[in-house]
């Protein structure tokens, strides 16, 4: 029920966005850039209404070994917030520092680990190792740490 309502609302917002933000131009004979987004919005609305009406018809299927209540929302929000902060720090601090900070925060904050020496060594080694593998060996230009420039 809730899911159906949420999806229907999403569809309405989507249709409003499409109507207001996609210009109505089209090459001769073809439906133009608005056609598919419109169609999808309408389809989603129909599916949303159908889901809302069908109610809790299908009982929760037997979960394959997973925690049946679904993973904890708090863990989910924290993990995603960590990733967003990581991205911000990648830009400010560079790859190695940001990675080490992310790993330490995840281990201490999310997992509640307290073995500080192990954690520090693990985070530093993994951050530096990934930099060597991806940046130096494979040539993927990751954000460079400011202090690394002065070393070289």
């Amino acid at each position: 029920m809730t899911l159906g309502v949420v999806l229907t609302l999403l569809a309405v917002v989507w249709l409003w966005l499409v109507d207001n933000y996609i210009p109505d131009v089209a090459t001769e004979g073809e439906p133009g850039p608005r056609a598919l987004p419109f169609l999808l919005g309408i389809l989603l609305a129909i599916l949303g209404v159908a889901l809302a009406l069908s109610g809790p018809a299908s009982p929760p299927a037997e979960e394959d070994g997973r925690s049946s209540a679904g993973p904890a929302p708090r863990t989910a929000i924290t993990t995603v917030a960590l990733l967003l902060a990581y991205t911000f720090l990648l830009d400010k601090l560079g790859f190695i520092t940001a990675t080490a900070v992310l790993m330490l925060t995840a281990m201490a904050g999310v997992l509640g680990m307290r073995r500080w020496v192990f954690m520090a060594v693990f985070a530093a080694a993994f951050a530096a190792g990934s930099w060597l593998v991806f940046n130096t060996l494979l040539g993927i230009p990751l954000p460079r740490d400011p202090w690394l420039v002065s070393v070289q």
Binding site: L3, L7, L17, V18, Y21, I22, P23, V25, A26, T27, E28, G29, E30, G32, P33, L36, P37, L40, G41, L43, L44, L47, A50, L51, S54, S58, P59, P60, A61, D64, R66, S67, G70, P71, A72, P73, T75, A76, T79, V80, L82, L83, L84, Y86, T87, L90, T99, L102, M103, A106, M107, V110, L111, F126, S130, F134, L138, I140, L142, P143
Partner: protein, 500 residues
């Protein structure tokens, strides 16, 4: 013949061999760990391939594919939890064998069966691929549109028990893909004037978020709650050829099942392995042994789930249509290297296709060797806590999303898709159709519009092609059948409720 020899030379260069081996071993290890699926192994390996030449990149991806399908059996046998969903059917008898003290035999038998199934389906694929491609080369936009529509609708319908949820997932994936610059008319769609959104959502970035992040969240959430009992028997690397006497016929039949299921859109490893297990039990002379450590219950699902690969690659390489989530990810990987699967690939890049055949063969050699030599190592890997790996995977997610286009905006996008993936899980909406929508969306729309431009706006172009008509009819038939069976199941459920 000459090009085959060239392909062999290309695939056996040291760099390519190393990529194959690294991929196969990475696939074995990641999918051996419960909670980390084999789709995720494919996604995590992707950033490693960005900077490579096409052949080693493909070698690595396909190495992960073969290794990933095989590795799931390790934890199925030793812990009784499938390392990856395709190994779920292996648990019944594999784990029972381990409890009887035959863990080494079960592991050895599973790897032999895996290699057998994989190589069997590879041969079928080699025989059929070029014929399908030669047939498909005549396809115009109308036919391709009809074909993609059929593929997408079956996958959405089959992905989950709920048709509505499967379709919702497909529509959501298609919606995401419409964001960005519209190539035909050159206008931005829902870009709100930003440069970053002009390029659209990179399909790999979305996949990392949808597959990998929810996995990490789950590993973090289960931290401290899940206990695993590993069979303590000293595991040796053996290949029990003798024990398999009398089972080769079963393995061949299981491989046929796997190859066919693999080629059907929406099929995939889990379905194939359960069907093969069921077949093995039904046609066994002593079905009562199944579930109590019968070796046929290990080799049948393992041969079948590895045979899925060759089957699934037929529509992928010859038509550009992925049959399941794993092949959709592979398709993404090929596109990044400028290789667009489809009939044209056989004319422009035949060398790469031949090299791919050789690479897959070689990956089986690596897997057999790894199993014999390295099995004790795998047992150790199973003891590495999943939450600690989760921390490392977060970093790999960041690297992968960034490396796709060297853009931090993509890393933010990946994180948001990660939350989206979690919400989908919460709403019990399957992820596979979302990914297929992402991958197939652009083709679907472009072919439809190109067809209309060719026909000057007349929809008759879709009705004039017998092939397109057949595909539309099949789509309608399938949709009708799905709707009817959903209603029947519901009525049966409410009837049985009334009785009780």
């Amino acid at each position: 013949m000459e090009s085959v020899l060239q392909a062999f030379a290309a695939a056996t260069q040291p760099g390519v061999l190393a990529a194959t081996a690294a991929g196969a071993i990475a696939g074995l290890i990641v999918s051996a760990i419960p909670g980390l699926t084999f789709s995720m192994a494919l996604i995590l390996v992707m950033p490693f391939t960005f900077a490579m030449e096409p052949i080693p990149a493909i070698a690595m991806l396909f190495g992960v594919y073969s290794g990933g399908m095989t590795g799931g059996a390790v934890s199925a046998v030793l812990i009784g939890i499938p390392g990856t969903p395709s190994a779920a059917a292996t648990v019944f008898d594999g784990h029972a064998m381990a409890r009887k003290g035959e863990a080494s035999v079960a592991l050895g038998a599973s790897v032999i069966a895996s290699a057998f199934g994989g190589i069997f389906s590879l041969l079928v694929m080699v025989l059929l691929l070029e014929q399908v491609a030669a047939f498909a080369i005549r396809f115009g936009p109308a036919e391709i549109f009809a074909l993609v529509l059929f593929g997408l609708s079956t996958i959405c319908g089959l992905a989950e028990k709920s048709l509505l949820r499967g379709l919702t997932a497909g529509v959501l994936g298609l919606m995401v893909m419409t964001i960005g610059l519209d190539e035909l008319d050159g206008v931005g769609r829902l870009t709100f004037g930003t440069v970053e959104l002009q390029q659209g959502v990179h399909m790999l970035v979305a996949m990392i978020g949808l597959f990998a992040v929810p996995n990490v969240i789950e590993a973090f959430a289960n931290h401290g709650h899940v206990r695993r009992e590993i069979v303590t028997e000293e595991v040796r690397g053996v290949l029990p050829w003798r024990r398999l006497r009398g089972y080769w016929g079963l393995m061949t039949r299981a491989s046929v099942i796997g190859t066919i299921i693999g080629a059907v859109p929406g099929g995939g490893g889990p379905i194939a392995s359960f069907l093969a297990y069921d077949h093995a039990r039904r046609f066994s002379s002593h079905p009562e042994g199944y579930g109590h450590g019968e070796i046929g219950g290990v080799v049948a699902p393992e041969a079948a789930n590895n045979a899925v690969m060759g089957g699934a690659l037929i529509p992928l390489l010859s038509l550009g249509i992925p049959a399941d989530a794993a092949t959709a990810i592979i398709l993404g990987g090929l596109l990044i290297h400028g290789l667009e699967p489809g009939p044209l690939l056989f004319q422009t890049n035949l060398d790469i296709i031949y090299a791919l055949y050789v690479t897959v063969m070689l990956s089986w050699v690596v897997i057999l060797l790894a199993q014999v030599i390295g099995i004790r190592l795998f047992v150790k890997v199973l003891k590495v806590p999943a939450h600690l790996l989760g921390v490392c995977i977060l970093v790999l997610c960041g690297i992968g999303a960034f490396a796709a286009r060297n853009s931090l905006f993509d890393v933010y996008t990946m994180a948001l898709f990660g939350f989206g993936g979690y919400l989908l899980q919460l709403a019990r909406i399957p992820v596979a159709p979302v990914v297929l929508g992402l991958v197939l969306g652009p083709t679907l729309e472009q072919q439809y519009r190109t067809a209309l431009i060719l026909s000057e706006g007349s929809h008759r172009i879709f009705l004039e092609s017998p092939f397109a008509l057949t595909m539309f009819a099949l789509t309608a038939l399938f949709a009708g059948w799905q709707i009817v069976s959903t209603f029947r199941a519901r009525r049966a459920a409410s009837a049985s409720e009334g009785v009780s």
